[in-house]
Symmetry: C2
Subunit: 303 residues, 2 copies
């Protein structure tokens, strides 16, 4: 039977990252771990992904204590997906140095029953044909959110458009909106996406915050929390999405006003994630810290 | 005696501008006209600038009906300052095609008594030695706001630092903060500027809004109004600053909370300015339209 849980399917990776503030090698990465660590603060999360038999499973023990069910994390024979990237002085810009897909290349998501029965589904960035397949495995999801990337829009546009027509919420950045719709204006482009089916488009603007475009209501403008010690932006978008949908699952309220609040929680948890490399800051993050920063944020937007 | 008026000193120009949405030739431009048109919606504005004897004075008649005193607009023998620029598809990027200083090169601001007696001074982007000179001519200003550009930070840093130490509010963008302070983080950089003297730093982020950094209070995060028909961003920053300081002059309240509201009014008026080329949209803008969009904005930030 359907439950107030969050299921997410995406990548599980080991990241080698260099930023102006340091570097890590083969650190925990991939969308599902950021989503699990962030969403698990609010609601039970079911992770569906694949790692290789070289994956250091003990490093994700902390997720189990945080409401994260790893039954859907397949361990396949071979190497874990590895990504290596380097950020510029301005951390909005990064170069991908290498991508080794490993076992991720043959990933066929198989959802355990608990994952199927979740009412909240976050389709993180994987091939749209897999996203369509996962959605088909779900029992009766109440809210389906979707992320993608330029690569899939360029190489599998028909399937990207198909999955967009099936979901409730599209999470994109400015560049992806333009690529999807041909519109230079994110606002106009977001409304074109809504015409394709979804009720909500969440425009991620990184250090500039996010905007919620709503089919039936006025937009919501969500500034970013001002950061003084950002060290590594990797995973910030997944953390944002994970906290946002985790909050919706926990409150089980998908009305426009609650979705606004979900964006703010996403913003707040992401502001912690970037304060350290990999999942390091999320590991010991508490809801007390989140609520305290949420209150600070409120005082920063009053006028 | 001091009055609740705004005095501004800056450039008066004729702009030739091309954007993806059209072009204009020798159109009204320069900081003081945008500041006058925006600030004049709220409070009397005294413009101090210079034009050549080729300047079409009849085109600024509308400013007189809007509380703008042109006694400080000198008409010098020679050509008006001309700027030509072209915006890319992404209108955050522009190329300067030509700059002809004309009479602006020998500009020596001379303030009429009304301008000297104003309590609110907005030093728009001109050489810092002129800004220092103008500040010295003021009788007893209550709030002095200051804008600059990379050129002066690079070529006259000592004078830029001197004027910063004398003003109450610095209005800058991310790039200028980094150039001024060596800090990649705008928040940390803004606090370094505050250590130089000012109480307030307003960080302009263009289409991403603005942030107010405050010596004694938490930051204020001001998102941008979502634009669906931006045509020409020229003058948006000056319009923002003009409306902001004009609102402060009108309310005569420089407390932190009122400055937040001033940023919102700046954001709103600037959102109109970019909807047409040059000053075209500001010419017939009414306070009713401003207040209506202000109310819309409020509904867009609630959570």
């Amino acid at each position: 039977m359907p439950t107030q849980q969050l299921t997410t399917v995406g990548s599980a990776a080991l990241d080698t990252v260099e930023t102006p503030f340091g570097s890590v090698k083969d650190a925990l990465g991939g969308s599902v771990f950021f989503i699990g660590a962030a969403g698990g603060l609010f609601a039970p999360v079911n992770i569906v992904a694949v790692v290789g038999d070289d994956f250091p499973m003990e490093e994700i023990d902390f997720l189990k204590k945080r409401n994260v069910n790893l039954d859907g994390l397949e361990i396949a024979s071979g190497s874990t997906f590895r990504w290596e990237g380097r950020y510029h002085e301005n951390m909005n810009i990064r170069d991908t140095i290498s991508t080794e897909l490993g076992v991720f290349e043959g990933f066929q998501p198989k959802l355990p029953q608990t994952a199927k029965d979740s009412e909240y589904l976050l389709l993180a960035n994987i091939h749209p044909s897999l996203q369509i397949d996962v959605l088909g495995q779900m029992t009766s999801p109440r809210l389906v959110a979707f992320d993608t990337m330029n690569l899939w829009i360029n190489t599998a546009r028909d399937q990207v458009e198909e999955i967009i027509s099936l979901v409730d919420m599209v999470i994109v950045n400015d560049e992806e909106i333009t690529l999807l719709t041909g519109e230079a204006s994110p606002v106009i482009g977001a409304h074109k996406i809504i015409e394709m089916g979804p009720r909500y488009v969440v425009v991620k603007k990184g250090e500039h915050g996010a905007v919620l475009i709503n089919k039936d209501d006025s937009p919501f403008l969500c500034p970013a929390f001002p950061l003084v010690n950002a060290k590594d932006p990797t995973g910030a978008g997944d953390t944002f999405a994970g906290a946002m949908i985790g909050y919706l699952a926990a409150t089980d309220d998908i009305g426009a006003f609650n979705i606004r609040r979900a964006l703010v929680y996403g913003t707040i948890v992401a502001s912690f994630a970037v304060e350290d490399f990999s999942l390091n800051r999320l590991k010991d993050l508490t809801m007390n810290e989140v609520e305290e920063r949420f209150r600070q944020f409120r005082t920063m937007v009053e006028f």
